[in-house]
Symmetry: C2
Subunit: 190 residues, 2 copies
Amino acid sequence: MEILKNRILKDAEIVSAQYLKVDTFLNNQIDPSLIEEIASEFTARFSDTSFNKILTIESSGIAPAVMTGLKLGIPVVFAKKNEPSAIIKDAYTEMVHLWTKKCDYKISVPSKFIKKGERILIIDDFLANGSVSHALISITEQGGSRVGGVGIVIEKGFQDGGKILREMGYRVESLVIIENLENKKINFRE
Amino acid sequence: MEILKNRILKDAEIVSAQYLKVDTFLNNQIDPSLIEEIASEFTARFSDTSFNKILTIESSGIAPAVMTGLKLGIPVVFAKKNEPSAIIKDAYTEMVHLWTKKCDYKISVPSKFIKKGERILIIDDFLANGSVSHALISITEQGGSRVGGVGIVIEKGFQDGGKILREMGYRVESLVIIENLENKKINFRE
């Protein structure tokens, strides 16, 4: 997705060889017109499949998920992040390890929002080691739904989350894949 | 806003005389087409003013804020919630007391996103005692911006947040105002 690549090249900040900061247009500050382009691209890529619902996670997944949900005409559910020790009733939960912040948390979705037999589209802003995606897949499957696709805005190709998900048979559509951030340069996978 | 009132009457759950749950269409599960209607209504109500930016708070403010930002052609910034003791660098911060969860947290916005002299539109899903709105106003003003309006999806008219903000001279546009939740019934202010 050229418009996204160009925006990343223009505005993203390489904090380290692992960490690309996109807080001026994708998270923290959001460019709604870019989000709309992202939603159009997800809609086009998944146009061969019908979904009942989008599942994402707070907070940065919400904007692309809701804009995509508008285009697909389906509701969006977001998982909430809770303390690891939180006891959450009537919900599907899963643990996530957040490498960038070196912490664990428990994500949860009220069980009433995951219905048996539905086909779910998972959307998130980043895919790195895949911890969040695996947790969202687990929650989907706990509820008897199945994952029909995983839409990712930016995949870090130098971490193995995307590779593993694809090997497991999940369809992952990443709008851009970053091959590496070596020599303080953003190198995309072609 | 009739469409919103009807949706509240149809799908909201009165948990107590203080607490109305709208998790099936506004937070947790989001109906994107309703959010688009909400954004259109905000756009119409604030059509006489130009804004540089929308400021909201994670997570439930993000969907209406981004959809409104798309229509107004302006970026959206969301404040993050942090532990009260968190030390956050290069950011404007403010404390918020969350009555529904009986806890305090510190909200923060990186200072680079609030620029001197800008006119900010604050958007949030609920207005009750006004604690979040006051914190977002404080952050705006710490950065030398000014608040040109506060757009609220659902105002609880039986709590005094809206009244106080209006008395302070802020323009508050609430799409629906709930007069009370007495006798297990949702009574709107006309």
